[in-house]
């Protein structure tokens, strides 16, 4: 009984010390909580960017929005996403380079993508040329 408690306390202490070190920009990452309601459903949901989204890839203005959004990401997220999508590295490599756990790596990439999407949506919808 006491040893269970002892281990629980040890776990707690370990966790407490580990977390801030592995994910320093944790607070910055909480930019997405309002995308979903209490039931896990989209509140407003992703907006359509264009009638033919693939054509966006031909537009310099769209690509420059993508670039500036990548630069605006919190540092670790930007690094993780750049390593993954620009360098084509596997998550194993990204974990080692950024010195984070595999789970953290997926969370980081997920948040990076979610933020990128949001950033592009906000900046693109405001500035896009009329179709």
């Amino acid at each position: 009984m006491t040893s269970i408690l002892k281990h629980k306390i040890l776990d707690y202490i370990r966790k407490k010390y580990r977390e801030p070190r592995f994910e320093p920009d944790h607070i910055d990452l909480q930019t997405q909580p309002d995308a979903f309601d209490d039931f896990g459903k989209w509140k407003t949901g992703p907006q359509a960017w264009a009638s033919d989204p693939v054509k966006l890839l031909e537009q310099k203005s769209f690509l420059s929005v993508v670039t500036s959004c990548l630069k605006d990401l919190p540092q670790k997220q930007g690094q993780a996403l750049a390593l993954r999508e620009l360098q084509g590295e596997t998550t194993d490599v990204i974990c080692k380079v950024l010195n984070i756990s595999a789970t953290n790596c997926w969370v980081l990439l997920h948040r990076a993508r979610a933020l990128m999407r949001k950033c592009i949506e906000i900046n693109w919808m405001d500035n896009r040329e009329v179709e």
Binding site: G40, K41, P46, L57, T67, Q79, H110, R117, I120
Partner: protein
């Protein structure tokens, strides 16, 4: 049984991202597939993430090298200063 395959949009958004980095187990692959058939918003989310990946691949060639994002600034700055000093 039905509940076993049912995921919330919030979970799906996470799973969609993971599916781009590793092969998910059958349970999750099926979960995503079934959810996307019923949920237009998540389907759009997935399409947009794929579009972003394609855009990033283009950005790489038309913009700066990704090293600028990866190399810690001190080294980067040091190299630049060194080069600037070496050039006449």
């Amino acid at each position: 049984m039905i509940n076993h395959w049912m995921f919330k949009c919030k979970d799906i958004s996470h799973l969609i991202s993971q599916s781009m980095d590793k092969k998910l187990s059958l349970k999750y692959r099926m979960g995503i597939k079934i959810h996307l058939m019923m949920c237009d918003l998540c389907a759009r989310y997935k399409d947009q993430l794929l579009l972003i990946n394609r855009a990033l691949a283009k950005v790489d060639t038309f913009d700066q090298s990704p090293d600028a994002l990866i190399t810690p600034l001190p080294d980067h700055a040091k190299n630049r200063i060194r080069k600037a000093l070496e050039s006449p």
